[in-house]
């Protein structure tokens, strides 16, 4: 397993809510599916998330949010990524995202939106199917 391409996923929690159980469950599931998961912890600003994604050359970014500030914060994450030229990354999110907001979130570039009750197998399958190649 030394020198093979592994999917690298950044899991981050933007904003001020401090509950990261969901983020950790997803991180753990992706690890058990053979991925390398960079976990950055809670209370991340959009700039911090984008900068970490750049430095880590993550192929995939998963954001978890429970505070309700997703329509505020997600576009700013996308914007910060754009500013850094990070344009080949798969975005998905989870947490408490009301049904009526999902269309808007997909529109700004989040291909996957996974609410409470999602089977982690679905997230794994989604990431494996859509993660862009790196090398």
């Amino acid at each position: 397993m030394a020198n093979e391409q592994r999917i690298r996923v950044l899991i981050a929690k933007p904003g001020l809510d401090g509950h990261d159980r969901g983020a950790k469950v997803v991180a753990r599931a992706l690890r058990d599916a053979g991925m390398e998961v960079i976990y950055t912890g809670i209370r991340q600003t959009p700039a911090m998330i984008a900068e970490a994604a750049l430095q880590e050359d993550a192929q995939v970014i998963g954001l978890s949010i429970l505070s309700g500030a997703h329509l505020e914060l997600f576009p700013r994450v996308v914007d910060e990524l754009k500013q850094r030229g990070v344009d080949d990354v798969l975005l998905f999110c989870g947490g408490i995202i009301p049904q009526q907001d999902i269309a808007r979130i997909k529109e700004i570039g989040f291909q996957g939106v996974f609410g409470p009750g999602t089977d982690t197998g679905d997230i794994i399958a989604f990431v494996k199917a859509h993660a862009p190649a790196r090398t």
Binding site: M1, N3, Q5, A33, V37, Y39, G41, A47, T135
Partner: protein, 323 residues
């Protein structure tokens, strides 16, 4: 992106190019190998510092504190942090950024998390190559943090010019057990969390262990540090600088540099041999046949290993002959 273009970006300090170049080196792709070959001539300027110690000793917190102090001194910092891969799924949780969150927004810092990917020496096989890229990109200090290391994970000595061993108060027995391994490769010993009871005892124990070690030209200093508050960190940076200057000076420095070069070549050759030999043995079916024989107790593992090596040698000779 092609290697030449990426190399140009790395040398110009383009962070995105550096990040992608690291991915290539980590994957050991053709582009990655070309990058290493081209960029090696531009390395050797950075101070390469290894941070090792057992799990929970405070390595990540200390790396964060060191980076903050180096930044105050106006130096740029690259960080390579290695966490273990699962031997079962081969996946990994890389969590070292959590302790260094405040550094993420600093343009003078670049941090990369790596998984050990089955390497047992405390690093990943490509960690040294990644540190070299950061060196080539112009970072003045490059810190390499190992996985939680016990006794034998001494590979950091092949990657870093200065190795810092992080221990804690109350780790008496643990320190005893380190004396034959990690203790010998460290040039600086740190008692982290030294605001806890027992810090002075730990220092005394380390001193006693060093006293029975071979006297060498460099006497490893022992420092009390509280990484969380930054206490003792400026002194640690001073000691690291001193060792760095020592390594650069005179005959001793030349000898150490040659020794480091030798260790790096040997480590990479060993890893490549191991991987390629097992690939060959797996492909030819030689391994499977011997596994059957040993499992049935028709043959002992020792002679099976010798036979396997013979089979690999024959395969390789035939391969070379057909070229």
């Amino acid at each position: 992106m092609r290697a030449a273009e990426l190399a140009k970006g790395v040398l110009a300090g383009d962070r995105r190019a550096l990040a992608r170049a690291i991915s290539h080196v980590e994957a050991d792709s053709a582009v990655g190998r070309e990058l290493q070959a081209t960029l090696y001539a531009h390395t050797g300027r950075a101070q390469i510092v290894g941070i090792t110690g057992s799990a929970g000793a405070g390595k990540s917190t200390l790396v964060g504190a060191l980076a903050r102090d180096e930044r105050k001194r106006g130096r740029t910092v690259g960080i390579v942090a290695v966490d273990p891969s699962s031997p079962f799924s081969h996946g990994a949780i890389l969590g070292d950024r959590i302790r260094m969150q405040d550094l993420t927004g600093d343009g003078g810092v670049f941090m990369r998390s790596m998984a050990s990917r089955g390497n047992l020496g405390g690093l990943s096989e490509t960690a040294t190559g990644v540190a070299d890229l950061m060196d080539a990109a112009g970072f003045e200090v490059v810190m390499i943090e190992t996985v939680g290391a016990g006794q034998d994970e001494v590979e950091i000595a092949t990657a870093a010019q200065t190795t810092v061993l992080v221990t804690n108060p109350g780790g008496g027995d643990e320190i005893q057990s380190m004396k034959a391994g990690l203790m010998e490769v460290a040039q600086i010993l740190v008692v982290n969390k030294s605001d806890l009871a027992g810090a002075d005892t730990a220092v005394t124990q380390l001193k006693a262990l060093l006293a029975i070690a071979d006297p060498s030209a460099w006497r490893p200093p022992i420092l009390k540090v509280v990484a969380k508050t930054g206490e003792g960190v400026p002194e640690l940076v001073d000691r690291i600088d001193e060792h760095h200057a020592f390594m650069r000076s005179g005959e001793h420095g030349t000898r150490e540099r040659r020794e480091l070069a030798r260790k790096q070549i040997v480590a990479l050759t060993r890893a490549a041999l191991h991987r390629e030999a097992l690939e060959t043995a797996g492909r030819s079916g030689a391994l499977a046949a011997l596994v059957d024989a040993v499992a049935a107790r028709e043959r002992d593992p020792r002679s099976a290993a010798a036979l396997l090596l013979d089979a690999v040698r024959r395969e390789w000779a035939a391969e070379l002959a057909s070229r």
